[in-house]
Subunit: 482 residues, 2 copies
């Protein structure tokens, strides 16, 4: 267990240096997030522009890495690496960890090799692995050579895990102690082990084969009589996750049990790393954005970059959907005879399409969110579908009657009113079914159910719904009514 | 500062009793979330049904409160209170804290008065305040009388804050120490103060007027020479939030600075409580669900309850939107002359409506998510609108040309193709503008921007877009072409 020996390099990523290294001088009031142009930003920007490294370093020393990262992002790309070149490697590492991946690699490409190595050395192993995964292989191998052997080995082992699994999310910086230590020896070990760790989330206890035996809080260590073996005071039932668990599921475990960190263990029960709650918070935000963007067919990059880039990202989706609607146009054209004889049918095309779309989107949102929060568990698919069809049937009945009544009131044409009402009932039922079947099926195939975006479901419903409408009309108005 | 004296009742809500009190007996592997019908659930259900309190208590003693709460929810309402009546009040309190508000009040209504009081006494003050806020006033006053004076005072002060603010989210159970203590005295105080607290998130340091002076980690206390005054080792710059800050903003502060807890302070700098990261995780999940449901006009309760209840919740939205589409029908009817002369116009009504809807929904999603994650800050509204209009203009140009070409290819009618293309360009621009103006305006008015749900925006766009389409057609086909 690399982490259980004192090498002076243990460090918890994002550990609460936080509550203190804040960009404000006055006593506690509001966080630095509020003001858009606080004086320090202007001063620091001037120092960076003037090339005044001493002044910039002094100003930066007072700031929280999260605020510094925000500042770095607000600068021209050419100036970003300049500021980071002036900071001590430990501080630069904390700032780099807060930056988005493309900016990280941009900066590491510009920094000179020695400096880049020093910054990487100070970063936590999971961040280094994520970053190297983004770089061209040649550059990644080159940078990996700059790391000390143990750190490089940690990073290499992390590179083996998929990004969005527990293994990809975990850090190898945690504290694990042998189970035969006494409470006093354990406290001494912590003093030696974690000189940079501000918060020790939990103290893990392992046996000689490095298998996880239990967990301790720092408080329990302090309260225990000094010569008690920690084996006697640790808690032995521990919530753990396997390295291949999906990050969304890991987030749900941490949220459910209100943990500050969860250990990742292999099949033999050996602890490989821990996933900390701050990473879980990031995962939840990321997955929520992802769900919303996918549900609305909005590409993820569409919120940043030049207007042309944003438009270019959005266009393929829009043009694809437009082609779907062209199919709808062909369907209507196929019924031109019907439409010629009863022109009023055209008035209610949008009404039918929109209502089916709304029903389908509601079903979709309910299913996607239920899957995301774990309210719908694997294996419950049939029950969920059955319930949604019941709901769909009730909606279909009410909407069919309502629209028949409304169309009759507006148009005074009973035959068209019954046609619209009948099509409305059928379409509503189809919409409820498609809205819930698609995400459940994707989930069953282990594909993120949110890829079944709302617009794709509604476009499909437009095609099906228009067909149902004109078939109903042709049948009711001509075959039945004569 | 109530919290700084040792009364044997300090407790951190949801504190990591978690990593250990888990419902599994075997050594660490997977968390208990996986299996749907692990044997303990069946055994416990049988014990509850048979009225075997001893067996139920023994089984429950091995379980995590989160798992027990899940079990309670799976039981018939009549049996829920029975199990909780058998548990020791401390354990019952932890389970009740994990239950949704309606079930909490249902159970407290059934438990006898003494027992209800004992459970409330053990719950954290913010949970009690939330719960009492949900009960009928008479019952709330009655239960409040059962609490010890200090606990009751804490609860009453919390009742004054709005649910979705920092004040409504905070707990009054935190550790604050006077700044003139030494490190050794502080550790002694912690031993006395927090007998039930498993994790001390941070140790806050206050002056004689209870104003927040700084913050310490437990580790810093242990490492410091025993006779150092904590004033000398604490960090003095602390991220804090005011009690009236919106919970979404509090979550963003905690996420940005990777905090485990953030202190809530009043205008004089006195610490009122702390918001812990586990509550922030809940807020993030809640707000993401809320955004998704509102964006899709899905009422929040629509994922639970009987089919009839679900349908009834969804219907008002659907019927409201249907009325909007009836306006679209009237618009088309108003142009019946145009439609009679060029029947092909009807084919492209869904194409135009759907594309405008898709563009509007993309703009809406980008704006709503940007506001939710803080990427769009207050005061940037004009810049965001300007950028979105640029994007809209580019989309309008490309979509106008594409649809002109496609319609011509499908129909071979140049005049209709140009009409559709022109209307497409105009509608796309309007859609991009409405999709971003509505949420920004609502945000400016301090209304949650997600209430501008996608379906309402698309229905509005259907009305506007259809009008634009037929006006364009009437003008281009008859006035211009003759």
């Amino acid at each position: 267990m690399a982490q259980s020996e004192g090498n002076g390099q243990q460090r918890h990523r994002n550990a609460p240096a936080a509550p203190a290294q804040q960009g404000r001088r006055n006593p506690p009031a509001r966080p630095a997030t509020a003001g858009a142009a606080a004086p320090w930003q202007e001063q620091l920007a001037r120092a960076v522009q003037d090339g005044d490294g001493a002044a910039a370093g002094r100003l930066a020393g007072e700031l929280h890495p999260a605020d510094l990262a925000e500042f770095v992002l607000s600068q021209e790309p050419a100036l970003r690496a300049r500021l980071l070149g002036w900071l001590p490697p430990e501080q630069a590492a904390l700032v780099v960890e807060e930056l988005p991946a493309p900016v990280q690699s941009e900066i590491l490409a510009v920094l000179d090799r020695q400096r880049a190595g020093a910054v990487l050395e100070e970063m936590s192993s999971d961040e280094v692995a994520d970053l190297l995964g983004e770089l061209p292989p040649q550059r990644a191998v080159d940078l990996l050579r700059l790391l000390r052997d143990r750190e490089a080995a940690d990073v290499r082992s992390l590179l083996a895990y998929l990004d969005d699994t527990a293994g990809g999310l975990m850090t190898t910086e945690f504290v694990a102690l042998q189970d035969d230590l006494t409470a006093a020896e354990a406290i001494d070990a912590l003093r030696r082990l974690a000189p940079d760790a501000e918060t020790i989330y939990y103290v893990y206890v392992v046996d000689r084969e490095e298998r996880l035996q239990g967990v301790l809080s720092l408080r329990e260590l302090i309260v225990a009589p000094p010569d008690t073996p920690i084996r006697r005071i640790m808690r032995t039932r521990v919530v753990t996750v396997p390295p291949d668990m999906d990050q969304e599921e890991v987030a749900r475990v941490v949220a459910k049990y209100d943990l500050l960190a969860v250990p990742v263990v292999d099949a033999e029960g050996r602890i490989l790393g821990i996933v900390t709650v701050d990473d879980v918070v990031d995962v939840l935000e990321e997955e929520a954005s992802e769900d919303i963007y996918r549900l609305t067919a909005t590409p993820e990059g569409a919120a940043a970059g030049t207007s042309w880039l944003r438009a270019r990202l959005r266009l393929p989706w829009l043009v694809g959907l437009l082609l779907g609607e062209l199919v709808v146009a062909k369907v209507i054209q196929g019924f031109e005879g019907t439409l010629e004889r009863v022109a009023e049918l055209a008035y209610f095309i949008p009404l039918l399409a929109a209502t089916a779309g709304n029903v389908g989107t509601q079903s979709l949102a309910t299913a996607v969110r239920g899957l995301a929060t774990g309210e719908i568990e694997r294996g419950e698919a049939l029950g969920v579908l059955g319930r949604e069809l019941q709901v769909g049937l009730l909606l279909a009945l009410v909407l069919a009657l309502t629209s028949t009544g409304l169309v009759y009131a507006v148009l005074g044409n009973g035959a068209v009113a019954v046609t619209v009402g009948t099509a409305m009932g059928l379409n509503t039922l189809v919409a409820a079914a498609i809205g819930v079947v698609v995400p459940l099926a994707l989930h069953g195939l282990r594909v993120d159910p949110a890829v079944a975006s709302g617009p794709f479901v509604t476009t499909t419903l437009d095609v099906v719904g228009t067909l149902v409408y004109f078939l109903t009309a042709t049948w009711l108005l001509f075959r039945v009514a004569g």
